[in-house]
Amino acid sequence: MIKQLIKGFITLFIGFIPAIILAQTPFIRTIEVDKTIQDIKVQEIVQDKNKLMWLGTNKGLYRYDGTSFKAITIDNKNEEISVTSLFCDSKGVVWVGLKKGSIFYFKNDSIKPFDIEEGNPKETINGIAEDTYGNIWFATYGEGLYVWNHKNFYNFGEEDGLDDESAYCLVADNKGNVWCGTDAGITACSFLNEKKQIKNYSTKDGLSDNIIKRLIWDKNGFLWFGTDNFGIGKLYPDSNKVVIPESFSAWNKGSVESMLLMEHEVWIGTNENGLIDYEFSGNNRIRNFYGNAGFNYSSVQCLFRDDEGNIWIASKDHLAQSPGERIEFLKSINGIPFKNINSVLVDRNKNVWYSDEEGLHQLSFISDGTIVNTSFVIPKLKLPFKILSIYQDAFGFIWIGTFDHGVFRIEIATGKSIQIDDKKGLTNQSVLSISGKQSTLWLASLSGAIKIELGDDALKLNCAYQVDYFNSENGLNNNFIYQVLQDRKGRVWFAQDGKGISMLDRDGFHQFGEEDGIKAKTFYSITEDINGGIWFASANNGLYRYKNQQNFQINFLTGLQKTKNYQFYHYDLSNGLQSLHISGLCADNVGNVAVVYNDGIGLFNLDSESFSWLEESDGINTVDADLNTTSLAPDGVIWVGAKNQFIEINTSLEKLRKTPYLSFNIITALLDPFDFSIYQTIPASKNHITFSFQGIWFSNPTDVNYQYKMEGLNRDWINTRDKTATFPDLDPGRYTLRLRCSKTTDFSGSNEIIYSFAIANPMYKQWWFTTLLIIVLIAITWIFLKIRDQRVNFVQRLEKEKLASQFETLKNQVNPHFLFNSFNTLANIIDEDKGKAIEYIEKLTDFFRQILIHREKDLIKLEEELEIINDYVYLQQQRFENALVINITVSENQSRHYLIPPLALQLLVENAIKHNSLTTSNPLIIDLYFDYEFFVVKNNLQPKLNKEPSTGTGLQNITRRMEMLGLPSIEVEKTETHFIVKFKLADKKQSDMISITPALFVVK
């Protein structure tokens, strides 16, 4: 008895070794904005409706899609481009306020100046907001507030009732007001039906400071304010109540430059003291991250939370991203890192118990941000020993399961402990895990499961208890048990090494193995989710899940009947797991199951039935956790004891958006962007379509994969990591581009965006073009045929006229008169002069031969015609002698150059001879000569007394032939004394045309 007391005293005495360590820190990683510009400072951050991040810097505006920054050039007249405020309104317009008062806005992919008749302010725009009526408000430092009702621009100044015109920030509420922090407190303004309403709050109303730098609304209707000198506070506008949290009564961290409100914490960015975290729910703890690992920014100008839940921190020279309060790390105590954490338990008072090679320790958290680390020395345990599991029973006592030393029950307040080992009835001294319900404890050991039932005096450390054993002899498959879990329905599940899962219910033991679809042999861990589903972690074959749904089967004899057929779902790499080797499982009380594996931690959400994985951007690289190192704290935080650090996962603050947000950025047809908000028919000439898109996933931008399928072209999905898809030569038709993206290579369940469009038929395929073409073709054919007909007619007519003319000539020449006269003349000459007679005959034959040669032709040379005339005149002169005088005045050139229808002149001369009397005293004088371009045949008029009958065919015939050859018609002039015939002759060029065209068209 005395011995025991001494032991207990020793335990008490050396039991507590407290050490004060620094607080936990969130993970923060730094992003460089624009390497090409020096001294760039991010001043404002906002996210647009496509989830792109906008950064307002002192050196201009940038847009960030997770992988690259795009500079948006502001073309400001006064060359001031320092962005002091940014806002995305409900229509998706991004408003940009500049340091010298100018306002710009970004809409439809371009930035434009806010050009209004009233002009832009001239003082720094410190805030932009949109009220519930859709008015856009601007807060300036020096000119008060402005409001734009999409028509006019109005000013709120001191004369309207504003306490101060120098504003720092602007936020809207959901009642139509905007609230602005000024140098004289807080002012609420509203503008409805062009009526101004203003209400001021100052230190008289209980504000801690008149200079209000930042304002944020919380869910409960409190307006949190950050002051210049007195930290933060809350204003409740309905009751005009001001609350200053006690922790801020002695604030010494300077001006509040930025604030960010989270579920349990508010982050405060200061000017010189870095980032400060105030936990307002729970223990009102204040922590200063400045100087802690990974965070060295003294000035935090802007804090922003994106829709994924990532936190963006703008410091003077950095942009940083953090998962915020969602995941925190605890890595060291006073600079000494944690080593080989074996097992972890968070007790009901949120103290963290853990064991390492040096024994058992307790971490307790103080509201000033410090942590006290207490080591518990258990007298009976001498180094080296190993604590394998920690458990807190329903009565508040801590149990530890050891390797080879049984279990201990420890009273927290005194540090006293009792040991239960083989001497007290344990069959095995190595307890791998402890679990339980109320007064029942289940121990997993290397020789089966052990059930300990605590007696009625369990509130005493040294209480009565009863031990029961379950092993291969009385129903278990295997004696190597890793974990035992009693579920809420009273069933007890056993994770065994080698023989799968066993379960004990009122009906006795059930074994689950391969026939139930369980391929794994070794199971490490079991947990029960809030829906009563049981999860099993296997050593190397992933996860198994029993959904706890009753399976009914219709039995035709007894009706609906419950079957005993348990169904297990298997999760492996194909359906969402990232590793098959699961070391720990822990279900929380909001519907998640945490899955711990060597390189990371996953969360299975029961609502979305999907896994999400903590990413590198969350700061998780390797976990390497032991068994029994996950524990759910009473505040819902899951603690994971990784090898060298604690990871706290606030599962209730899961990512707000769980998948990448996919949107089209720009779609171009032959490099011309077009409006893709509507269905478009793209002309065939521009059938080179390029889609540019982005899947926004700031948590891990490089992990985003895309898949697209152009319906109408592709049959299968095409995988890409590029943010563009190009279709260079689309055939006419209707198309729909289906695009989806995923943060893994698994696209099941990923959202899809589509764009439908059509490529128009090319012009030659349009109906109107075809019709027109046919009409034109018909017309051309018709015209062609018509012309051909005309030509054929023409040629035929020409032919006919020619024949007629030949006939006329022949008729004349073979005319008995002519022959009679000729022969008569010849008869006269033969006697007189034989030589002359021969000459006469030669001329006659020559004359007839010429006629025969030329009669087929359309035109002959004037030269040739003159030869015929010469022959003819010679023949006639032999008869009339001096009574016929013929004067030909044609130069050699002219006679060669000009052309004439054959026998035209001969006919005219013959006519002259025929119709006139020829006497030696009054000779007939025929003149042939050129009168400029006209060829003239002129004879003096001395008509015969007895007129020879004139058919007139000769002159008519010539006229028609000339007409047909395209020569102007003959002019016939009959004066008192003369008969004159004038006509134009063809020259060589004309004759070419005439001789070719008939050849083309003559069809015989």
Binding site: E117, E118, G119, P121, K122, E143, N152, Y154, E194
Partner: protein
């Protein structure tokens, strides 16, 4: 000699004291006057319009109507940047016809009921009135036309040179904003947007 050294000294010292007193009075008088002067000049910060011209024009598709009034009056207080400008509605001249002028006065502006158009308010920017120069500023105030008040911000240019301020401003007034209805029949003759141009010279008020 009944005089002793002391008496002489007393006399001299008395004279001396009188002299000092006189000088002090002089100085204090000058000081008082200058204070008065300063106070007086400080009070006198009111500038009044000596020449003011206001022109309005309605550019409708069928007709352009322009009318001018030279009777723009008003004042600007440089100490608090407040101003008030007035114009008599019946003083506008230069309509295309006499009938038009009557129409304007009787049907649209209703000058019997609303004899004046007024713009009163304050200049938003802080203008250094003592430094000559050209300043582009915005005047915020209430514009009363046709008896209907509208809050407006109107851009104007101030040219400040030796004791005169010249104001030039061009802005638009929408008839609808001031409750002036246009009969359908003259829709093509009157523009819903009336362009107004103001040129005024202000001089320091001397009284």
């Amino acid at each position: 000699m009944p005089f002793n050294k002391n008496g002489q000294k007393k006399l001299y010292s008395k004279i001396y004291i009188y002299r000092v007193k006189f000088t002090l009075a002089k100085i204090s008088g000058i000081l008082f006057c200058s204070i008065l002067l300063i106070a007086f000049t400080k009070i006198n910060t009111i500038y009044k319009i000596t020449e003011g011209k206001i022109t309005f024009s309605s550019e409708a598709s069928f007709e352009t109507i322009t009318a001018t009034s030279e009777k723009l009056t008003g004042a600007l207080d440089t100490s608090n940047q407040k101003f008030a400008f007035f114009v008599s509605n019946s003083s506008f001249e230069g309509f295309n016809s006499l009938l038009q002028s009557e129409h304007f006065k009787e049907s649209y502006i209703e000058s019997e009921k609303n004899p004046r158009s007024v713009f009163t308010g304050k200049i938003i920017e802080k203008v250094p009135f003592q430094i000559p120069g050209i300043y582009s500023v915005r005047a915020k105030g209430l514009l009363n036309i046709h008896g209907v008040e509208q809050e407006r911000i109107i851009k104007c240019e101030l040219t400040i040179e030796n004791e005169t301020i010249k104001v030039v401003s061009n802005f638009s007034v929408y008839l609808v904003d001031h409750g002036i209805a246009i009969p359908r029949i003259v829709f093509d003759k009157i523009s819903p947007e009336i362009k107004i141009s103001v040129v005024a010279t202000l001089k320091q008020k001397t009284e």
